[in-house]
């Protein structure tokens, strides 16, 4: 793999993370605890979708084979999606959704901030714009996590359980491979060790304010970036790609 190919793969992965999380969030578009939360959820989903479109379009340009955003979203089998497992986890209840978002957004924001200073101008520019959106998502998510953790006995128990259940998907965020190494070396991309240290302290601070306990070190799941996903993921992709698969090659 050369640097250009690594950059391509890296940008597709950014698109995959954003699209899969958007896809999960829009499943619960009319299922919030308050109307304001439904509005926020729709707004965030729209941001992630917009990001996926920018990343996929740019990936298509890097590749230079004429693939467009929809080719990446609708015309790849699930084994070719390389999002992290965390974003594909089923929604569960509101607390699960918030914990999933916070754990991912802390990582994503650090990643985008690092990418904003990378040597690929287009990626730096997209990352700078995207970081502004994620900073707001994270503020919203962490405020909710604090309220739920430090709310009632029931809410505290529920989000502690969400945190314990989702924790095993956080190791993969920092489990770099050749793609990450080439983007780091060739484009001054994110250094995952530094990201992990920053992520750990940022998450610990939110968890502490939420009066929750950080889960003990435990076994970490992996495989998303090799296209090895959870069983639920096949349904997410089948649902999303339904029309393009049933009626290939049409304009909509």
């Amino acid at each position: 793999m050369n640097n250009e190919q690594a950059l391509f793969k890296y940008v597709v992965r950014l698109g995959d993370n954003a699209l899969v999380l958007a896809q999960r969030l829009i499943e619960i578009v009319a299922d919030g605890p308050e109307l304001e939360e439904e509005l926020a959820n729709a707004n965030f989903s729209l941001d992630y979708l917009g990001q996926a479109r920018m990343f996929y379009s740019y990936a298509g340009e890097i590749e230079g084979e004429g693939r467009k955003e929809d080719d990446f979203a609708f015309r790849r089998p699930d084994r070719e999606f390389e999002n992290v497992l965390l974003v594909e986890q089923p929604n569960g209840h509101f607390g699960d959704v918030i914990v999933r978002s916070v754990l991912f957004d802390v990582f994503y924001l650090l990643q985008l901030e690092a990418l904003s200073a990378c040597s690929d101008d287009r990626l730096a520019e997209i990352s700078l714009k995207t970081a502004k959106e994620i900073r707001y998502h994270l503020r919203y998510g962490s405020q909710w996590l604090i309220r739920l953790g430090d709310g009632t006995e029931e809410s505290h128990g529920r989000v502690q359980d969400s945190l314990d259940q989702l924790w095993r998907f956080t190791g993969e965020l920092f489990d770099g491979d050749e793609t990450d190494e080439l983007v780091l070396a060739g484009f001054a991309g994110p250094d995952l060790d530094k990201l992990q240290a920053a992520w750990t302290s940022a998450v610990a601070a939110i968890v502490e304010e939420a009066t929750l306990a950080l889960p003990e070190d435990q076994w970490m799941a992996g495989g998303g970036r090799d296209g090895l996903h959870s069983e639920d993921f096949g349904y997410l992709i089948a649902d999303m790609q339904h029309l393009q698969r049933a009626y290939p090659g049409l304009n909509w």
Binding site: I26, L46, S155
Partner: protein, 329 residues
């Protein structure tokens, strides 16, 4: 989005309240006749207030329930562009629900009360959302016909005599017009597409046409609150006038799309310059209104589940706020 038959439900206004002297009522009507806006703190007859709370809250509920049939295709939208546009539309609907609940709150009824009335089945919402979205073409048809009908109903509401409602409607109508265009654009793509896509578009029109023209509510002769609402300038045109206007505008659009409106009696009358159309099945309208449409129970169940499922979240937010207010004190 969708006012319809909004003057059909609720109790009859009660008798005159003691403070509603003939003089006050006459003075109020004179303000209305002079096209003055009535504001939240102004005196108003109780029946005017009740009519508005009923109409505005039903409109708000319709926006919220309307998120469901469209939400049904969000995960399956055929392209990322269409998915974004549909999601933005669903988000607008949640936003319209919020402004409308706020407008209704200016009349002294809390949002909690209005939501409780929706969940208990006491308050109604537009019946159109009790029909299912079975194919992607239904999303196009909802934008084209349902939002198109809603705009016909709602443009006059921008001049409604009650100021907060009229102002909320100005913004809502701007967004609705974008919704209508996105629906028509979906239909245009389908009608220029493959035979399967054209068939999908025709099938959707067949299923949504009659429910859409029912959105204007019962015929004028059967519309029990219309005369009073017209006198109060809450309503500016009758149900039948708006329905006719909608049909006159929409039939040429169907022709342009190469689709057939499912009404064998539809014919352009040269003398009146209006389309004549077939008999509406009012039994279906009243059945759906009474709760017996294809999705009435499902729509309500989704709302109840969201409300009940979110109770622990609202309690937590309240407990957190109280705890921290106590600490700050």
């Amino acid at each position: 989005m969708y006012t319809q038959g909004l003057d059909q439900q609720g109790k009859e206004p009660q008798g005159l309240q003691p403070r509603e002297s003939a003089e006050r009522l006459t003075a109020f009507q004179a303000r209305i006749d002079a096209e003055e806006k009535i504001e939240a703190k102004d005196w108003m007859p109780e029946a005017y207030r009740r009519t508005l709370v009923r109409q505005i809250s039903q409109h708000a509920h319709s926006e919220i329930i309307g998120m469901q049939p469209e939400g049904n295709w969000l995960t399956r939208a055929p392209t990322l562009r269409r998915k974004c546009i549909l999601l933005a539309k669903v988000q607008d609907e949640a936003g319209h629900g919020l402004y409308l609940y706020s407008a209704a709150e200016t009349l002294g009824t809390s949002r909690d009360q209005m939501v409780a009335d929706l969940l208990s089945g006491k308050a109604k919402y537009s019946s159109i959302f009790n029909y299912p979205t079975l194919t992607w073409a239904d999303i196009g048809t909802i934008g084209w016909l349902v939002d198109g009908a809603a705009i016909m109903n709602q443009i006059p509401l921008c001049r409604c005599s009650y100021g907060p409602y009229a102002r909320a409607m100005v913004r809502i109508c701007k967004e609705e017009s974008f919704h209508q265009r996105q629906g028509f654009d979906i239909m245009l793509a389908l009608s220029r597409g493959s035979a399967a896509q054209k068939a999908m578009a025709q099938d959707a029109l067949n299923r949504w046409w009659w429910p859409s023209i029912m959105m204007f509510g019962p015929s004028d002769k059967d519309s029990k609150h219309s005369a009073q609402s017209m006198a109060w300038k809450i309503k500016r045109f009758s149900n039948d006038e708006l329905r006719q206007k909608f049909i006159d505008v929409t039939v040429p659009q169907a022709d342009f799309l190469g689709l057939k409106v499912p009404d064998d009696e539809l014919e352009f009358d040269q003398e009146t310059a209006h389309y004549r159309f077939g008999e509406i099945d009012w039994q279906e309208f009243y059945d759906v209104l009474a709760g017996n449409g294809p999705c009435n129970r499902e729509r309500m169940q989704v709302r109840r589940n969201a409300h009940q499922g979110g109770a622990w979240v609202r309690e937590a937010a309240q407990a957190y706020a109280e705890k921290h207010a106590a600490q700050a004190a």
